[in-house]
């Protein structure tokens, strides 16, 4: 049912948006999975997570006007629909409730980050206390 899909085809490994680029659009995954990675200041790359069908990403650059904070790559073939910034902001201005879904996505992400920070804190505390014990 290839013809029944919207958006643009990305092949496995193809970059959908790149960390550091300016963002004029945000994205919705129509089909497939995408991987989110981030390069650290030291040059190392680490995986932040995976996004599946229906996920919205790239919205942060639209609100903050800052460069993309991570790189998103198709993991397997994926279809991605772009939502353009101007159209989106115009529509949100007319109907602010449209932003609710994005707000929910952002809240979930903050929650996930909180959990990650907490588990990192626990790991660090345990490491320090282990070092202290030795």
């Amino acid at each position: 049912m290839q013809d029944g899909r919207l958006g643009k085809q990305f092949f496995s490994g193809e970059v959908i948006c790149r960390q550091g680029e300016t963002g004029e659009v945000m994205f919705v995954i129509q089909a497939g999975i995408a991987e989110v990675t981030r390069k650290s200041a030291g040059g190392g790359e680490f995986k932040l997570g995976e996004l599946s069908e229906g996920a919205v990403f790239g919205e942060m650059s639209i609100f903050t006007k800052s460069p993309r904070s991570a790189t998103v790559t198709a993991k397997g073939d994926a279809r991605i629909l772009t939502l353009d910034k101007r159209g989106f902001l115009k529509r949100v201005h007319e109907d602010p409730s449209l932003a609710f879904n994005i707000l929910e996505t952002l809240s979930r992400r903050v929650q996930q980050l909180d959990e990650k920070v907490e588990s990192l804190q626990i790991a660090i505390t345990e490491t320090i206390s282990n070092v202290g014990d030795e």
Partner: protein, 447 residues
Amino acid sequence: MLTMKLELDDGSRIAVIGGGPAGAMFSYFLLTFANRMDMDLKVDIYEPRDFALIGPPGCNMCGGIVSESLIQMLATEGIRLPETVIQRGIDSYVLHTDESSVRINTPLAEQRIATVHRGGGPRDADRLDWGGLDGYLLDLAESIGANVIHDRVSAIERSDTNMIVSTRRNSEEYDLAVGATGANSTAWKLYEKIAEGELHPELTRAYITEVKLGRDKVDEMFGSSLHIFLLNIPNLDFAAIVPKGDYATVALLGGITEDVLDQFFSSESVRNVFPGIENIGEGACHCSPRMNTGAAPVAFADRFVMVGDSGVSRLNKDGIGAAYRTAKAAALTAAFRGISAADFEKGFSPTYDTLANDNGYGKFMFGFVHKARRMKPLMRGIIGMTSREQKSDDLQKKMSMALWDLFTGSAPYRDVFYRMINPSFALRLGYESAKSIIFKPSAKQSE
């Protein structure tokens, strides 16, 4: 004097009359907002059709184009039309005049428009591995708690405190009644009992036929493009061939008569795009549905509001998008403001009036297009300007975008109008038209 505020609360009951896109989306949004507020509402959707059936009993008769702007809004809302509903993703359209054709690609060269069936499929459909848009939206409303009653509403009355909605079998009391019965129903007679004033919108008859060609042939003939025809046929506003799975839907808008159909199917432009159409003419499924061309002057009263085609639509395009807008505005008002006429005036009217006023610009634009079709140099100018823009990476795509927005419904008519009266736009069109008078094209050409 103390007046009781008319508003929904825990346990309030809502009757939605009609489960097409407007009724289903109203119910979906109202229940979504209620869930967010932890409010317990009971929504009954009355819909006699079974959208899983093939042929006329399951179909809400339309061209089946889900506009770029609606796709974008639904995606933002978290509603993603599944592959089983989308018959084809559209990435371009081809504009055909009597003399030539030009292709216009979507802004980001991606499939941003969807074509869908509005029921289980045309009468001669043999594949049942898809679903129609209406069935999908109704399921979506059901999935968050709406109750679908498969029956036709035969009467609505007011009691002192409520609305009484009746079918032949049953009568129920509700706090709010929502009219979502579209343009192809006599339900306005029901509404006259509960609201004062002129509730009837302006309507015109259109024409649709679904021609079965098979997936490969549809691919080969039309690809992922919508084909739009601006032909010099009186009373034909415009016509479109819409590729969908195994079918090509031919939709003609305007005042469609037998004579208009004959002229359209025998036109050289149409035969070039769709060889053999003059012999096929009508597919096994064809209909002449009514279309909303002018807003109903009155669209709400205390405890009552009309959404979708029964009230206002967008002229000649994006009716499903208009259904989304009015349905959502009514749901927002009912959930967060109240359900009195004064509440709908404040919360719902702005959206309703914006659509109604925009159609004024639309009527002007289609009037212009009607006249332009008879002026060959102007048509050549339009095609020439579009074609030049499409071939160049540097030129601003002014005409391409204006035509794109005019025919796909991606922007309000008002925006397109103001872009078109911009002096630099008019100058370029004048230049292209003048050039076409000096260098006349010899035969029908595709640019």
